[in-house]
């Protein structure tokens, strides 16, 4: 028997809908351009981080020893996950591997972006182990003899591999159910470790982090919405710099792993917060600072990057959908129709394909309609350019969905910390399941209000980014801009409305 979490109430959903309506009316009633695309604008309308988090990240980035301590801690946990996954009990709720990986890490990771941007990448155990194994150094610059340092072929310098990995990971997670299998969880961790080592041993710098890792790309793109990043203190110092230590490194410090040049960075989603630039800059000009909203407007996304953002939206919604009672009914009915049996993997794969194709078609239709209204723009430029507006929708729903997992399921961590291998542990009794269900650490109304608030915020940021993108792509006539952006506003409303509906649905408890 499975336990169900209640979804947000109709009243909260209605409030979000009213807010969305007000935002749309305001968007089309404004008499002047927003000005948010201009470099002079002060700040990003994303979530603020406190000076405390900024100071913490700055000291982490500047100190190789602190970074190493963080890496060692994460690597120790990673090795414990592999050990418990392979040798611990197969009962998922009693084994540290699935609880730590899927309930705690996978959930907290998305929240960490709010406060630390791409900070997770700085202590990522896969990358740390791969670097140590290939470079044979714990923190200083290695000899480079452990890697062939091949250049990745130009055609492969896209993130299509990351798109495939993201969809594949969702298939493994929701279709094959590896979140409920400690052994499979450990196997997946080992597979990713092998890929990280292989890429680092064959290719220069960190091709795996930049082009393949779905976790890194997810963090990188979500981090664009958060007003925190590594940036120059004074742009003029970077403009006058000829040596580019931030990119090339020094005799002690390794070069930027994703080939970024701090003073010329137009898009920071590939920054893995390794701190090399902070440590190598001779002028001490790199800091963990607040981001300007205008960072978004200088970079034209590649098709693979736009598709990754759309895949993020589709996959986050699929996560929510597959945890509703209705999904099981649909999958079951579809399986009966096509004669699928057993684990219904064929049917699930079909459902997954539909959940990707539908938003892609809707988005494509919105872009097509925009093109009809403004024929001077190209389909490719609009398709890639507008994808930024999708990102806040995925991020907001991801946070709202994960909030339920975090608050309702995280109580299970206490038991597995005390007995990580689950030695002699029995499955949860009905009493324990009920206890976990009712042990919400905050009042339910507060949880619902936070979820509703996140949905409102995501919708608002999406509209602001859409407005900004329109100003970048089509400067000038305001009324024409508004007319052209209508189809994309409709897409944003549909996607937000669907995600809001998902939040109102009862959600199945993971374990």
């Amino acid at each position: 028997m499975n336990m169900m979490h209640e979804g947000i109430t109709a009243a909260w959903a209605l409030l979000v809908l009213v807010f969305m309506l007000v935002c749309i009316v305001r968007l089309f009633a404004e008499n002047s351009a927003s000005g948010i695309a201009s470099p002079q604008s002060k700040s990003h309308p994303g979530l603020g981080i406190t000076a405390c988090f900024r100071r913490f990240m700055q000291s982490m980035m500047a100190s190789p020893r602190l970074l190493l301590a963080g890496k060692l801690f994460c690597v120790a946990l990673f090795l414990l996950v592999i050990a418990t996954g392979l040798y611990g009990t197969p009962i998922p709720e009693r084994n540290l591997a699935p609880v730590l990986t899927w309930t705690l890490w996978w959930t907290l990771l998305i929240f960490s972006i709010l406060f630390f941007g791409s900070g997770w990448c700085a202590v990522c155990p896969w990358d740390a182990l791969a670097t140590w194994l290939v470079r044979w150094r714990l923190w200083r610059r290695g000899s480079g003899r452990g890697s062939l340092n091949l250049r990745l072929p130009v055609k492969l310098r896209t993130i299509w591999a990351a798109v495939i990995m993201l969809i594949g990971l969702s298939w493994l997670e929701l279709g094959l159910g590896i979140t409920l299998d400690p052994y499979a969880t450990a196997c997946m961790a080992l597979l990713i470790l092998f890929l990280a080592v292989a890429f680092q041993a064959l290719f220069e710098r960190k091709a795996f982090c930049r082009y393949v890792c779905p976790v890194g790309r997810t963090i990188g793109f979500y981090a664009l919405l958060v007003p925190a990043e590594l940036k120059p203190r004074k742009q003029s110092v970077c403009d006058g710099c000829k040596t580019l230590e931030c990119n090339r490194g020094t005799s002690d410090i390794a070069p930027c792993p994703t080939s970024l040049v701090m003073g010329r960075m137009s898009q920071s989603s590939y920054c893995v917060s390794c701190g090399n630039c902070v440590q190598s800059c001779p002028n001490g000009n790199i800091e963990w600072g607040s981001r300007r909203f205008a960072v978004l407007d200088r970079y034209q996304l590649q098709p693979s990057e736009a598709c990754f953002m759309l895949a993020l939206l589709a996959m986050t919604s699929l996560h929510g959908l597959s945890m509703t009672a209705r999904w099981d009914v649909w999958i079951s009915a579809m399986a009966s129709m096509i004669g699928d049996s057993g684990m219904l993997l064929g049917t699930f794969s079909l459902g997954l394909a539909v959940s990707i194709i539908v938003p892609l078609l809707l988005y494509g239709a919105a872009v097509f309609l925009m093109l009809r209204l403004q024929p001077t723009l190209s389909f490719g430029a609009l398709f890639s350019g507008m994808a930024y507006a999708v990102l806040p929708l995925a991020f907001a729903y991801h946070l709202a969905h994960n909030l339920v997992h975090l608050l309702r399921e995280v109580a299970s961590i206490r038991d597995v910390v005390l007995n990580p291998f689950g030695e002699g542990a029995l499955p949860l009794s009905m009493m324990e399941k009920h206890m976990r269900m009712s042990s919400l650490p905050i009042p339910e109304w507060l949880l619902f209000s936070l979820q509703a608030g996140l949905m409102m915020f995501g919708f608002w940021v999406a509209l602001r980014i859409l407005q900004q993108r329109m100003e970048v792509l089509q400067s000038g006539n305001l009324s024409r801009q508004r007319r052209v952006m209508w189809p994309m506003v409709c897409f944003i409303v549909i996607a937000s409305g669907f995600n809001l509906w998902l939040l109102t649905q009862p959600m199945i408890m993971r374990m």
């Binding site: 998922p92 209705r326 099981d328 049996s341």
Partner: protein
């Protein structure tokens, strides 16, 4: 399409949504879940919910983790999904040893379902992975369901071993190429 037909379609959709909401669900079909056996004084049991054609199947293995030489029970409950009626017919159980590349199939029993349920007592003497196959005759012909079962916990270190070997091969290969490279440069 008229406004009235649109409203009717919306109402029908709402009705369907409401009807489907009342039904229970499971996270991933065919994935084992674990619970306490109500009949066995707190003993762990393993359950797998699956589907074959129009039939929903509930497999229960008690105790949950059978050891080599230990007698365990495989309980199979089958009912029609649309009507909820229990399956009336015979079920044939067979097994193959090993998850991979194993073709020899052995008969394990044949029983007529009582109230849609059969119970097979089983015992495997070797620690290994097994593939259990269940066959049943339905109106749409013969249906078969196959699922894995671990007796003992085989091959626990295998993924770790394979990963370490692959990593070692890659690192050694790279070192080998690097060793050759400067010689080529000198000559």
């Amino acid at each position: 399409m008229s406004v009235r037909s649109l409203i009717n379609a919306a109402l029908l959709l709402l009705l369907l949504i409401h009807a489907s909401n009342a039904m229970a669900a499971h996270f991933a079909r065919g994935v084992p879940s674990f619970g306490l056996n109500g009949n066995g004084g707190g003993q762990a049991q393993q359950s797998i919910i699956s589907q074959v054609g129009n039939y929903q199947i509930l497999l229960t293995i008690a105790p949950a983790f059978p050891e080599p030489g230990e007698l365990f029970e495989l309980r199979v409950g089958v009912m029609q999904m649309d009507s909820g009626l229990p399956y009336k017919g015979e079920m044939i159980l067979s097994y193959r040893q090993g998850y991979w590349l194993s073709s020899a199939s052995y008969a394990a029993g044949r029983q007529a379902a009582v109230n849609g349920e059969v119970r097979f007592p089983l015992r495997f003497s070797e620690r290994d992975g097994y593939r259990i196959s269940l066959q049943m005759q339905t109106a749409n012909g013969q249906q078969e369901l196959e699922f894995p079962l671990a007796v003992g916990r085989p091959y626990q270190s295998m993924p770790l071993f394979i990963t370490l070997v692959c990593i070692a091969l890659i690192l050694l290969g790279v070192r080998g190429v690097q060793y050759v490279r400067p010689k080529e440069g000198v000559s």
